[in-house]
């Protein structure tokens, strides 16, 4: 292990880690939006919306995220979508994780006891009111932990955009492996940064989950 080398290159890795964090945060926000919309569609009263939601989930979860990124970044210009690598990364990763979050959010909503809906309708609440004041507050508690699993997967998933040459952590590690021929040191450095990011995120999710529990 060449620690001098690690000390020399680590500032570049930290810079790259900032890009990884930006990618993760932006794509997770987009993913949550897609997930909420997807869950709305899948639980909709209209068959066509339900079908659209189910197709979204099935197609995205049935094909590799890498291929989806390639279609967007390399194939996009052919159908008039010009994105730079970072934008393509955020949109591709966000839409991808959105399909998994759709299922998480939908699962949490249908896990709320059916009697709750009946009771609130009996009390004279409308469909939207029931959702807003009765179902969602309870479902939100149930979805924190599984969404945390999605988020954890997404942080590691950001490594994929190295393949469309976004200069994030994995791409940087790859570039330094190429120029220094010291793969173990670079892996060690990048790996530790990933683990720190994931560990801190995990602490945040645990905190949120504890706060959300009813005592």
């Amino acid at each position: 292990m060449d620690f001098d080398l690690i000390l020399r290159v680590y500032p570049y890795f930290l810079e790259a880690a900032l890009v990884t964090i930006q990618l993760a945060v932006l794509s997770i926000i987009l993913g949550l939006a897609c997930g909420a919309l997807g869950a709305y569609a899948r639980l909709s009263r209209w068959a066509s919306l339900r079908f659209a939601g189910a197709t979204y989930v099935s197609v995205i979860r049935g094909t590799p995220a890498l291929i989806q990124l390639f279609i967007l970044y390399f194939g996009g210009p052919q159908i008039g979508i010009q994105l730079d690598a970072f934008e393509a990364g955020v949109i591709g990763l966000g839409v991808n994780i959105g399909a998994y979050m759709t299922e998480t959010i939908r699962g949490a909503i249908i896990a709320v006891d059916k009697g709750q809906i009946e009771a609130s309708r009996t009390l004279g609440m409308g469909g939207w009111q029931t959702m807003r004041y009765v179902i969602l507050p309870q479902a939100a508690r149930l979805m924190i932990r599984p969404l945390g699993v999605n988020i954890n997967a997404q942080i590691k998933g950001t490594a994929l955009v190295a393949a469309i040459s976004v200069v994030e952590l994995t791409y940087t590690a790859q570039r330094y492996i190429g120029s220094t021929y010291k793969p173990f040191e670079m892996f060690f450095l990048a790996g530790i940064i990933y683990m720190v990011i994931i560990y801190i995120t995990g602490l945040g999710i645990n905190w949120l989950d504890r706060r959300a529990q009813i005592k």
Binding site: G62, T63, P64, L66, I67, I71, Y181, G191, I198, Y199
Partner: protein, 218 residues
């Protein structure tokens, strides 16, 4: 530049071959991840602390870092210490180990869920501790966790696209080669996505069959 899907039929054979390689990679790494997962789970639960803790650290590292990075380490990193693996082997080992760690987590839960009386009963009948784990506990535990392991297998199929980055000529790399000749990324990546989707459907069908068999045998 518009779309022109008529370039696809000329590369039908290449895409088919790529699909077969993807299936081969998936099957080999599935076997590694399944048995590796069982081994890791048994070690994590039963081995003495001096073995257990290094293995826990190993699992932690594999779960906390991206698969792509691990593939780079195995393919480019092992050369540094004198082990030069062919890309296919490196890819299969990387995928297999990565998912073995995830499977091990699931199998551990399965082992803990096996009734304690089974262990006591087997020991009373004169089986040694090793025999009890191997012949009584693990078979029952694995049976209950087949569905979540199947989900991991589907994730593994999709992650097999990553080994294209270290130069294994599977479906993704095959389409990239075709694109470098025809300059038609959209058509070929859509075709590759369709192939993955079909393989995925086949895999899901197979998994449902296995799940049903296991359920009947109970």
């Amino acid at each position: 530049m518009g779309l022109d899907f008529t370039v696809l039929p000329g590369y039908f054979d290449a895409l088919l071959l790529g699909s077969l390689w993807t299936i081969a990679i998936m099957l080999v790494s599935a076997v590694i991840s399944f048995f590796g997962g069982i081994l890791l789970a048994v070690i994590a639960l039963y081995a003495p602390a001096i073995v257990r803790y290094p293995f826990r650290a190993f699992s932690f590292v594999f779960m906390g870092t991206p698969l792509l990075l691990q593939l780079f380490l195995i393919y480019f990193g092992l050369i540094q210490i004198g082990i030069d693996l062919p890309a296919f082997v490196a890819g299969v080992i990387g995928l297999g180990l990565h998912y073995a760690v995830y499977n091990s987590d699931i199998i551990q839960a399965g082992i803990l869920a096996v009734d304690k009386g089974q262990h006591e009963g087997a020991r009373t009948l004169g089986l040694s501790r090793g025999q009890t784990i191997r012949k009584i506990i693990v078979p029952q535990a694995v049976r209950t966790v087949i569905p979540p392991i199947g989900n991991n297998l589907i994730a593994l199929l999709k992650d097999s696209a990553l080994v294209s980055v270290i130069g294994v000529a599977e479906l993704t790399l095959t389409s990239q080669l075709a694109i470098s000749k025809t300059f038609r990324p959209f058509e070929f990546y859509i075709a590759a996505a369709a192939c993955y989707y079909v393989i995925n459907l086949g895999l899901e069908y197979g998994l449902r069959k296995i799940e049903k068999r296991v359920a009947v045998a109970r």
